[in-house]
Symmetry: C2
Subunit: 280 residues, 2 copies
Amino acid sequence: MATGRSTQHNPNPAAGTRRSRGRGIPDATVARLPLYLRALTALSERSVPTVSSEELAAAAGVNSAKLRKDFSYLGSYGTRGVGYDVEYLVYQISRELGLTQDWPVVIVGIGNLGHALANYGGFASRGFRVAALLDADPATTGNVVAGLPVRHTDEMEEIIRSERVSIGVITTPPGAAQQVCDRLVAAGVTSILNFAPTVLNVPDGVDVRKVDLSIELQILAFHEQRKAGDEYRDEDEAADADAEVPSAPAAAVVSTAGRAVEPGRGHGNERGQEYEEAAG
Amino acid sequence: MATGRSTQHNPNPAAGTRRSRGRGIPDATVARLPLYLRALTALSERSVPTVSSEELAAAAGVNSAKLRKDFSYLGSYGTRGVGYDVEYLVYQISRELGLTQDWPVVIVGIGNLGHALANYGGFASRGFRVAALLDADPATTGNVVAGLPVRHTDEMEEIIRSERVSIGVITTPPGAAQQVCDRLVAAGVTSILNFAPTVLNVPDGVDVRKVDLSIELQILAFHEQRKAGDEYRDEDEAADADAEVPSAPAAAVVSTAGRAVEPGRGHGNERGQEYEEAAG
DNA sequence: CCATCTTTGTGCACGCGTTCACAAAGACAT
DNA sequence: ATGTCTTTGTGAACGCGTGCACAAAGATGG
Ligand SMILES: NC(=O)c1ccc[n+]([C@@H]2O[C@H](COP(=O)([O-])OP(=O)(O)OC[C@H]3O[C@@H](n4cnc5c(N)ncnc54)[C@H](O)[C@@H]3O)[C@@H](O)[C@H]2O)c1
Ligand SMILES: NC(=O)c1ccc[n+]([C@@H]2O[C@H](COP(=O)([O-])OP(=O)(O)OC[C@H]3O[C@@H](n4cnc5c(N)ncnc54)[C@H](O)[C@@H]3O)[C@@H](O)[C@H]2O)c1
């Protein structure tokens, strides 16, 4: 869901594969494998030999049936009546996720967030190696962050090729993100983790995942508003909707008026557009 | 607002099983509204008066039919033959997301990541106000970060109550996350954005969203491995998979051997329909 | 006023993902 | 070996999300 390209729906089912026969592992399952892996690693550190699907599911915060079905896509790695062997499952999931090999990554844009990521220990702990830190600002290049020198983006292509980097992390301002993305892709990067609030345009074959703090907060705000609204009804806010809509055009007003018959549509808060400029 | 609205245009006769969601707006739609809002804000800054669903969908990186259906959950805010009024839609989405009001948030754990978030301008730009920065380490409390003093977690409950904070951001080490979460919830926080790689346990009524960099990278690695595996088969890895299994128990090894016979299940490298064309 | 053109709003079908529920598989005791 | 007990693996049903395709709505022009 977070990935830019869905690539799932082929209007032509000519392949004939009806079910999950020749198909790979469902995206939803792949997204949960790291969760299982984390829980299993914790068990492994405590030298727990086996776990049942029920226990592991609880640790991972999912339904046990879902967990079993997820594992069934990987193969039959459990033992009925006993459960799953922790070490073995750690290995299988690691292999399935491609964590048995080394993945060099570059981080582009060593500002506030780039600093934090560079210092993050969780990178190296799972086979992700920071191959380089890149920035366009001459004032920051040369600085040493987390033991690595910040190098200028002029060197991007060379580094990506020589280090065989296939994963890039973008932590530049939004205005530079697409441009940086294009350069990364042109240099050979085929997976991008984007922290900038921008919709990246990439060719087929390139995966983009985005981490957007602002979106997460807004989703929380939506539910928060709903919780608050359920307690005391918004009587005061429902009345004067149409009057205070900011610059509602004729067409839209008509549309609103036609709908004004139904109660509870508007919201009297006059600060309609408080939010001009996004980060820029 | 929920009540008055849902009574109106609901051509669906089977209202019994449907409408399970109290509000009516699907989660998937809610998750996209911030995306639309961002695109609309950009248009608004360029003084674009109206947009068609096609244009806006392109800007937001989604399907136009999906966008129209999403908007249909909010109401009929478009004009056929013309499109949507930008300013009006900005207002409607903002209101729907609850961004017309102020949301004070606290950030707990002012380390690398907490620093970055505190300095992030995108917070305030959408109605999210950092009410306080909290940390348990006496060495960091008292420091001024992004113009705000870091306060000790002893003050957490008092701050949350006095500032009416309902959203908390956790950027502590994973071991402290659950404990911090419990305190936040006990103090009145009902929405949590968790950056620590931990499964948080919360009572009903509390929303948790997680941002997990490690998981995102692992998902990218999975797809990356699949792409690489398509080019040249992973002969070396597939061959000695069993051999390198760390402490694989007898039962599990047998299970693996039995499965190795069937094609297409164990590894996901049989070139499915995803990522077809360009990938090279 | 009528014709045409554009674009919305949505009915519908389809496929993915989730969950239930249970037979089969294996451990373990006797 | 046989029976019992635990837990897996999965068939099947269902709900949700997505995208197609089209009728209706409204703008626009004559
Ligand atoms: N800081 C956060 O907590 C946070 C949260 C969510 C999203 N973001 C997003 O992450 C991005 C980075 O945020 P930040 O706070 O670190 O910003 P920042 O301004 O501190 O850092 C941006 C860095 O990118 C560099 N840069 C600019 N243009 C570049 C280019 N073309 N090539 C390479 N480097 C370039 C700058 O020199 C700077 O060092 C922004 O898009 C922001 O919206 C940040
Ligand atoms: N830095 C990153 O880029 C990054 C990326 C992904 C995830 N994370 C996760 O985010 C969290 C923070 O990462 P970080 O790099 O900022 O770590 P950090 O060690 O730099 O900062 C953690 C901060 O939390 C404070 N803290 C510890 N226990 C606390 C408690 N009980 N109450 C309040 N504050 C407490 C510490 O004093 C410290 O200031 C970690 O869980 C990490 O796994 C970080």
